[in-house]
Assembly symmetry: C2
Homo-oligomer: 367 residues x 2
Amino acid sequence: MTHDARRYAALPSPFAMKRGGELHGARVAYETWGTLSEARDNAVLLLTGLSPSAHAASNADDASEGWWEAMIGPGKAIDTSRWFVICVNSLGSDKGSTCAASINPATGEPYRLDFPELSLEDVANAAQVVVQGLGIEQLACLIGCSMGGMSALAYMVLHPGSVRAHISVDTAPQAQPFAIAIRSLQREAIRLDPHWNKGRYSDGSYPSDGMSIARKLGVITYRSAMEWNGRFARIRLDPERRDDNPFGLEFEVESYLEGHAQRFVHTFDPNSYLYLSRASDWFDIAEYGNGSIMEGLKRIRIEKAMVIGVSTDILFPLEQQEQIAEGLRAAGAAVDFVALDSPQGHDAFLVDIPNYSRAIGGFLSQL
Amino acid sequence: MTHDARRYAALPSPFAMKRGGELHGARVAYETWGTLSEARDNAVLLLTGLSPSAHAASNADDASEGWWEAMIGPGKAIDTSRWFVICVNSLGSDKGSTCAASINPATGEPYRLDFPELSLEDVANAAQVVVQGLGIEQLACLIGCSMGGMSALAYMVLHPGSVRAHISVDTAPQAQPFAIAIRSLQREAIRLDPHWNKGRYSDGSYPSDGMSIARKLGVITYRSAMEWNGRFARIRLDPERRDDNPFGLEFEVESYLEGHAQRFVHTFDPNSYLYLSRASDWFDIAEYGNGSIMEGLKRIRIEKAMVIGVSTDILFPLEQQEQIAEGLRAAGAAVDFVALDSPQGHDAFLVDIPNYSRAIGGFLSQL
């Protein structure tokens, strides 16, 4: 038996959003691992990609495997015998935090598209409420993966002095047009599904087709062509696994995508997906530097950072991690830049555990 | 005034298809430029990508600009004062050739999904009927771009001795899983559109949404992230050009994709798109070499070849053009391999005219 390990932090009410609008009675879900030291100086905050929950690893309350299970635990790269680790479910995500599927206290109905415009700055501010609520003045380290890496940049620029060290994983200082195009098309697939119905879907009339296309496009861009050449090549499905529809599944890679889509479609709220996806497009550290990425990053004051990227990432290409490393260095931090050749593309941080463990474990052990 | 410059070649009836099935009373459309020499030894055949018509350039009958206008004409890289150039519309394409939208003589109704399974070998065989019908025993050069490059490999392996020289442009000896995944998702977007209706759509009930998603995904993968960084960056649309729909267009890159989609959706028959897309996934030169790409290519007997590819092409990556070059070389041809750094991705052959002109013009001038 596993239990819900989530805790909840109430956000100040009203909670003002960056682009206008406010939330009343909102909360974010989080989980923790390890023990906060008396000096409260061993806290590590983890901000996630678009879809994961706060359940990054198993813990006493929930023994089920987390999404970064191999990285977090006693003796692992993020060593919970030393660090007090907090993972926050993004504001706007439906894994326990207030989101478009939550009840709007003003109407008693779900927000749906009445949820205010969401930005990663709001995600960062909500996470900071959790940290503050735990009595932590300064994080020993802030780790952000993928979208969470952008939320982390927002956190540091909005809360000067709140972070000592930072680990930036497979992320970017702003969305480039290729990533915007991909995410825009994912959103369009959902919006064009007649069952989306301008956000007013139900379990019985649900935009499964749009979500399926969005997820498949996600998986295609999260992985890499190189990995798939070795993994799937041109292998056909056994005849009994093919589907009978015209132009239906025939190749192993198609079945792999179908499996991913099936597992995702009903486990993520479509409207929440739209909000978080657009927030990723909007984020731009250059907004804090008069239009310059470098100037924006130079406003971040931390002591040390490690910036990790992968040469096979097409969504957050390596030169974007180089920009982050350069900018943080120009701001005065001691920065390690780690360029990996993992074949798994953007998702390498979830798959290439040996390389990410070595880098992250090595960095944390020297703090 | 421009006139239809198309000519038509009747295919043998029945025309047997590679995967079984046959066509009766089928034809393919083609256009020509220049004059066939008395010795009939100056013919250049051009096989196209998935969507272009046979109208590769303006000519006496149709003054409108063709899809490779800058490359074909007197004094241009494909110099029509010397060469007799033929461009064939692929069998299965709706630009004049028999396709899924054509009338099935057995029923008097459009074929729709009763069109037999289409392969690029069928496309190649239909093109060869045109060449034969013009009394040409051997092509001076066979040029194939993108999907047409795969059709060209099929042509050469199926018709030994029919080609002296070959120019392979941005193509592959087989579809890799990344390309299959992209095309599968494009087909799925069309198939999931309720208006597709298992192929039984009409002008009034047409799968526009599915075609739009398919086209946008195509354009995303035909270009490159690098080009878009320079071209679109994070430029927003003027407020009056945004759409009012929730999560509607906001960035310039989204508007660019929308424009491409709008121009395409009603100018290509959706069922024909499905057939040609799947034919691209199916093609595999290794079928002619006991499962080996190299052995398959080694069965192609030509004198000279030029193989061109682009480092920014994510759909047909450069290593696939290297394979073609190696294989043709191993088969005994003198092969020039040209690796370009054009930023435009797979579509570079349509855009980077200076580099493609220089390469193709140089090669042809030495024949």
